[in-house]
């Protein structure tokens, strides 16, 4: 009888100890890290979606506004550069890499903005159904990028705060020494907005 009780008690202790560790935030750091990485994948996903729309857009604009060669070339080049830079989830702790990627995407945003504002000068292009659909998709994608970036920033903040506050800081300095703060986007949403072009 008493051996059963003491054995039960030992099991209960083991379970309780495990749960106490779990409830004290041992799992929080890996969980938040994975969340932030997943959010980053969504950011990349949406940037890729935008890049996929561009060849079609360039082709459509070309049909009506061949003389806007500079603008079209700028978009194509910016797209090539932007799609060549990928930041793996493991590199998110490197602010320099994140910044490079962000700069390339911002350049592309600027080139796209110029292309769309140039398009305003071509009434036939503006009323082309294909162009209108592409424009709507592009707008939608820009908005998804904004949402994905916001979500990523939120996830990174939660993760970084966990690394620096109690009780996360205990685990960060013992079991998860490899866990480093992740880089946030530095530019504000304003930098993403399409720039106004003066002629």
């Amino acid at each position: 009888m008493s051996t059963i009780v003491s054995r039960l008690r030992a099991i209960a202790f083991a379970v309780a100890a495990g749960l106490v560790v779990a409830s004290c935030g041992f799992n929080t750091i890996p969980t938040l890290e994975e969340t932030a990485k997943a959010q980053w994948a969504e950011v990349e996903n949406q940037y890729q979606r935008r890049a996929d729309l561009i060849p079609n857009l360039v082709e459509t604009v070309q049909g009506y506004a061949k003389q806007e060669k500079d603008v079209l070339t700028a978009v194509t080049e910016a797209r090539a550069k932007a799609t060549s830079i990928h930041v793996d989830a493991a590199d998110l702790t490197d602010p320099e890499k994140v910044k490079q990627m962000q700069d390339a995407q911002n350049t592309l945003s600027g080139a796209l903005g110029r292309l769309l504002s140039v398009s305003e000068n071509y009434p036939e292009l503006k009323s082309n159904q294909n162009f209108l659909a592409l424009q709507a998709q592009l707008e939608g994608t820009e908005n998804r990028i904004a949402v994905a970036r916001k979500d990523y920033i939120g996830a990174v903040q939660a993760y970084n705060i966990e690394l620096r506050t109690f009780p996360g800081v205990i685990w960060a300095s013992t079991f998860f020494r490899g866990a480093k703060p992740m880089a946030e986007f530095t530019a504000t949403q304003g930098a993403e907005a399409t720039p106004k072009v003066k002629f």
């Binding site: 749960l19 409830s23 939608g140 998804r144 979500d151």
Partner: protein, 265 residues
Amino acid sequence: MFARPLRVFAAALLLALVVALIGLPASAAPDLPALTGRVVDNAHILSATKRADLEGKLADLEAKSGIQLVVATVPSIGGQAIEPYANALFRAWRLGEAKNNNGVLFLVAPNQHRMRIEVGYGLEGTLTDATSKLIIANAVAPRFKAGDFDGGVGRAVDDIITVLTTDSANWRKSPDLRGHQGSSKGILPPFFVFLIVLAPIVVIVTVFAVLFIVAWRRGGLGSGWVVSTGAGGGFRSSRESSSGDSGGFSGGGGSSGGGGASGDW
């Protein structure tokens, strides 16, 4: 022989819990309207008959397809663009089923002359950005321009329902494609975070209750135990009260990643 260290441990645990709960940031309450029904006409631009008509259609849509389409009119969007406002509102209301993310929000801000169709993750493939834009530009904007809000909102709802239900093979498939992604990628809503924090606590309390019974049978009962189990009961009831928002219409836990289109008139 175990009673004393256990009691100390329980007290420490309680203290840690209290500290953790105090430390929880009060979730910032943005200035968003409450989800009072399928048509939230806070800007008062719809007639009573139209509102009733719309509510019938929207309830019918959800009964048939599980899709939650909500119409909202707001007097102000807090000085920001309509896109982030619509997304925040969609996520606060959690439209659509949690698994399928099949919600749609049609938001009208008459004072800003802006409107938006915000589409949940699961319906992005059916109600695309381009389609949403077409509905806004062709069906709604001309009517709004003429001051016919009843007609414009009515057409928007009719067109959205048509798009969502015509190709049923398509909309039945697409929510599943995005469903898993959406639910695993979205940031957990505060309530779930609360639950995750709470679940281990409840289990621990249960374990302590078992220990308590074992100890009690052996006659080693101390007053500290009563405090520990009492606190457990308190936490559990607070969880119940925070989930007790049923009664009437409510969101199903869906989310949106900013799909859809905006327009003005």
